[in-house]
């Protein structure tokens, strides 16, 4: 492996793009919280149709796929590389660190990757290749299933912990943090992680409890 820093720039840039992507994705998904009686089905299906036809969205979605691929390739390569750097391990090791997540980014990332695959094959694949147009009912029906809700909850928790470290870490990797800004970036990362992944997580629970019917 050569040029760790360049790899880290790529990990950070792709990670930050995915952070932005998640924000947009959530904004769309929050429409699922609209009560069914207020025309949620029509609105969500119109939104889905718009998302799959608009050219700007097309460019953004390609950027998202590229970011995911790039992020995975680069971070997996870095993680495998650093596994070899210790040599003989310590028998006792208990140095403190500034975030527990940072030690488990690879595991958290793997959970997220597995989730992305499940998620795409269940919704994206069906809408795109099986011609499903009533995306709203497809989603709502899926989340009547408790196991499915559990998968989402676990995955969102993984994203929560991943971004808890990843958000501030990417600013550090890009050389954008200093002694004065470190605290604020860390706080922004906490707010982001509490807000975005956890709101994502509420949606399946909300649908499972049939709250959209009330």
């Amino acid at each position: 492996m050569k040029y760790y820093i360049i790899n880290k720039y790529l990990a950070a840039l792709s990670g930050l793009f995915l952070i932005l992507f998640l924000t947009g994705h959530l904004a769309g998904n929050l429409q699922l919280l609209i009560p069914e009686s207020s025309g949620a089905q029509q609105q969500f299906n119109d939104y889905a149709a718009f998302m799959s036809s608009n050219p700007v969205v097309k460019i953004l979605s390609i950027t998202t796929y590229v970011s995911i691929l790039l992020h995975v390739v680069v971070t997996v390569a870095l993680s495998i590389d650093s596994k070899r750097k210790r040599g003989v391990g310590y028998s006792v090791s208990r140095s403190p660190s500034n975030s527990i997540s940072s030690r488990y980014m690879g595991v958290l990332g793997t959970v997220i990757l597995a989730f992305i695959i499940i998620h795409l094959s269940d919704f994206w694949y069906k809408a795109k290749f099986e011609g499903e147009t009533d995306v709203y009912s497809m989603v709502v029906n899926k989340f009547q299933n408790i196991e499915y809700v559990a998968i989402y909850v676990v995955a969102m928790l993984a994203i929560f912990f991943h971004t808890l470290h990843g958000f501030s870490s990417s600013f550090q990797s890009l050389g954008l943090v200093g002694s004065k800004t470190r605290r604020y970036i860390k706080i922004c990362g906490m707010i982001y992680s509490l807000l975005i992944p956890l709101l994502f997580m509420l949606i399946p629970i909300y649908l499972f409890l049939n709250l959209h019917k009330t």
Binding site: M1, D81, S82, K85, V92, R94, N98, L174, G175
Partner: protein
Amino acid sequence: MNNSISITLVIWRQKSALDKGKFKKYELKNIDINMSFLEMFDVLNEGLISKGEDPVVFDHDCREGICGACSMYINGRPHGPQKGTTTCQLHMRQFKDGDKIVVEPWRAKGFPVIKDLMVDRSAFDRIIQAGGYISVNTGNAPDGNAIPINKAYADEAFSAAECIGCGACVAACKNASAMLFVGAKVNQLSLLPQGGPERASRVQNMLTQMEKEDFGHCTNTGSCEAECPKEISVDNISKLNKEYLRSLIKKS
């Protein structure tokens, strides 16, 4: 008041770089709590020598916290449990009677064990040789105040220059990364006008050497800063990342 304690040491013993090595247990009684950790090791070694056994080899030099030689991984932490201290400045009063203390060498591909607790840290020297210097023409000594330096930069350079190259950052890092060391050494020069002319080549050469020496990458975990006896800040790593980006764009 009782000023002495008894402890059990579990120490890594390894005859040579090629030996596999193993832990060995030693019981020590009546250790004065005002001894430094290294003085306690001296007592242990005196005992071993008088019994005709091989003393435990460990690195040390200044014994006043400035040379960075005394590398020991004590109870899972570089230089032991106390914050901001080297092993020579760690005292036995940090331990309790009956404590078991596990002592290991630094573990990193870049720091191979020479014998027992002594590791070869010459990788750091080679990183410095790759760019951790400024070139000055010989002749009269230049006037120290001839080049004005912004106080904020001077202070930052000074904090970075506190790094004693002990290797605790590498030892503590989960990736055995030397980014804190390299960051401190790059910044102490690049922040100052004297370091200006070689700025771009310095950061590139030092980073290339760092990777050649088999140190890992930085996951921004922050154990390095927590364990650094000189409390060098991870801001130096952020600056190093920026400095490298700069070097790709600007050549000096």
